[in-house]
């Protein structure tokens, strides 16, 4: 027989990753007497896309040190996504990023400090370097302190949103199940925050066999954010923009530290430049309105396209020339 558990709350947060933990902190800050519950399909201490830790925070504007403005950032995102962007949404999250990073700093996340200016060490124009092995446990501690451990439901996978019978435009809770013992959960809440993960492995990864999970985005992200919302009738926005990260041989991430911090050269399999031979073709295809091809930071999509053209021409894969960087570093040390 299936056990059923009913949980009543004022606010239900679905997903306990970085977004869910942040939502837990913020809701508790504004609503001291609410009952807030959080459902997480793994253990909140290590869940979501930051479970293994990170070596950089990829968006930090540095408003305090006047390094960038929010408008600069919106322009950069617009260029990188070649115009397929809702500027209001980008602006809205970008202006809050800095205070969040300063909170992380206060909580104990080791961010590389810049002793001269009092700011942080920059990896690239927007990125800062951290020692992020315990990034998620630190943020999870804040969420756990905000809600209390009794209000966090670990290993509960939420599958559907519940809608009000009288008002079809209102979500009044969610249902899910415990992945360990199969207990069926019915959450009833006045407000619901959906912060579940994105989708990974929608396309077949290049890695095979046991290396199948060796992907940049975690293999356990099952796109439940999209699925549940579409099923509930929500209007999805910005779904046109796919995030495709450049890939290099033997690397399964964008290798930001090498690319941005150490300025490592990227070449095709024969050590030649991968971008120049295709610039005319790419300009012919995408050089129209917006002039994205000649931006100071080439859009990621176009760089990936150039790498793909190298593959097709038989000059793949792209290499991150770490050998040159190591040689250069050795020379500097001597």
């Amino acid at each position: 027989m299936v056990r059923v558990r009913y949980v009543d709350a004022d606010i239900l947060i679905i997903g306990g990753g970085m977004a869910g933990s942040g939502a837990a902190w913020e809701t508790r800050y504004w609503c001291r007497n609410c009952r807030i519950v959080l459902a997480e399909k793994a253990n909140i201490n290590r869940s979501g896309a930051v479970a293994m830790g990170l070596s950089a925070i990829n968006t930090y504007l540095g408003l305090k040190c006047k390094e960038n403005t929010v408008e600069d950032y919106v322009k950069y995102v617009r260029g990188d996504l070649m115009g397929i962007v809702r500027e209001d949404l980008v602006y809205d999250y970008a202006r809050h990023v800095d205070s969040t990073v300063h909170l992380f700093d206060e909580w104990g996340l080791p961010i590389w400090p810049e002793p001269k200016t009092g700011c942080y060490v920059r990896e690239g124009k927007w990125q800062i370097m951290i020692h992020g092995e315990s990034y998620k446990p630190i943020v999870a501690e804040a969420a756990r302190k905000a809600l209390g451990d009794e209000n966090i439901f670990n290993r509960v996978m939420v599958t559907h949103l519940l809608k009000s019978p009288s008002n079809p435009n209102r979500v009044v809770g969610a249902i899910g199940f415990n992945v360990n013992d199969g207990t069926f959960y019915v959450f009833r809440a006045k407000a619901t925050i959906l912060a579940a993960g994105g989708g990974s492995q929608i396309y077949r990864p290049r890695s095979q066999g046991e290396g199948l999970g060796r992907s940049w985005y975690p293999p356990w992200s099952s796109a439940s954010s999209y699925g549940m919302l579409i099923e509930a009738g929500a209007v999805m926005t910005m779904m046109e923009a796919r995030f495709v990260v450049p890939r290099f041989k033997d690397g399964y991430g964008p290798v930001g530290a090498y690319q941005l911090l150490l300025k490592t050269r990227i070449s095709n399999a024969y050590g030649q430049d991968f971008w120049k031979p295709h610039i005319d073709e790419i300009r012919k295809l995408y050089g129209g309105k917006g002039n994205y091809v000649d931006l100071p930071i080439t859009p990621t999509t176009l760089r990936v396209f150039a790498q793909r053209l190298e593959w097709i021409a038989g000059r793949g894969p792209s290499l991150m020339r770490t050998d040159e960087t190591v040689k250069k570093a050795r020379r500097v040390r001597q």
């Binding site: 902190w25 913020e26 508790r28 800050y29 504004w30 001291r32 399909k41 793994a42 253990n43 201490n45 290590r46 869940s47 979501g48 479970a51 293994m52 408003l63 305090k64 403005t69 929010v70 408008e71 809702r86 500027e87 209001d88 602006y91 809205d92 202006r95 809050h96 800095d98 205070s99 300063h102 909170l103 206060e106 909580w107 104990g108 996340l109 080791p110 020692h131 092995e133 315990s134 630190i138 501690e141 804040a142 302190k145 905000a146 290993r155 992945v179 066999g209 046991e210 290396g211 199948l212 999970g213 060796r214 992907s215 975690p218 293999p219 356990w220 209007v235 926005t237 033997d250």
Partner: protein, 162 residues
């Protein structure tokens, strides 16, 4: 490469089963040696090393990537929440050993001030774009500057297909 458990070392405490974000560290059926943990689905393993870091026996191991630790090499990790350091040991098969130490946290564990210890925010601030810790009246301005305001373009009225 996905993690694997050395059964002789595993005591079946379940720390790795509890922490695995992918829910693929499972218990075997209890036999005469008691229950053991094992990686039930290596294809869904992200190699996040959480099972390795949380195993008190050092029974969970991961063989390193072929490119930097070829066959016969090993990657070991020890995470210490008392000294707030993570220690990595890379053993190559020719005997070379490399050690790395990184800090994991600058404050003691459990030291975060919960949001309820901040003064209660004034109700009228709910209508402003400020989040917590972005204004003097909201637990101090951690942003460091005035919250940038700009007239953001009106939200595009989404087309609802009937």
């Amino acid at each position: 490469m996905p993690s694997y458990v050395i059964p002789a070392k595993c005591t079946g405490c379940g720390d790795c089963v509890n922490i695995c974000p992918s829910h693929i560290m499972r218990f075997t059926k209890s036999g005469i040696f008691g229950r053991k943990a094992y990686n039930a689905e290596p294809e869904s393993c992200w190699e996040c090393y959480n099972c390795v870091k949380h195993c008190p026996q050092g029974a969970v191991q991961i063989r390193g990537y072929m490119d930097f630790t070829p066959m016969g090499g090993a990657v070991e990790v020890y995470r210490d929440e008392k000294t707030n350091r993570v220690y990595w040991t890379i053993r190559y098969r020719n005997g070379t050993v490399k050690y790395f130490v990184f800090p994991i946290r600058t404050t003691p564990w459990g030291s975060i001030k919960p949001p309820t210890e901040y003064p209660e925010p004034p109700k009228e601030f709910l209508r402003t774009p400020y989040l917590s810790c972005e204004h003097e009246q909201l637990g101090g301005n951690k942003l460091g500057v005035e919250l940038p305001r700009m007239k953001v373009p009106e939200v595009v009225k989404a087309e609802v297909r009937g």
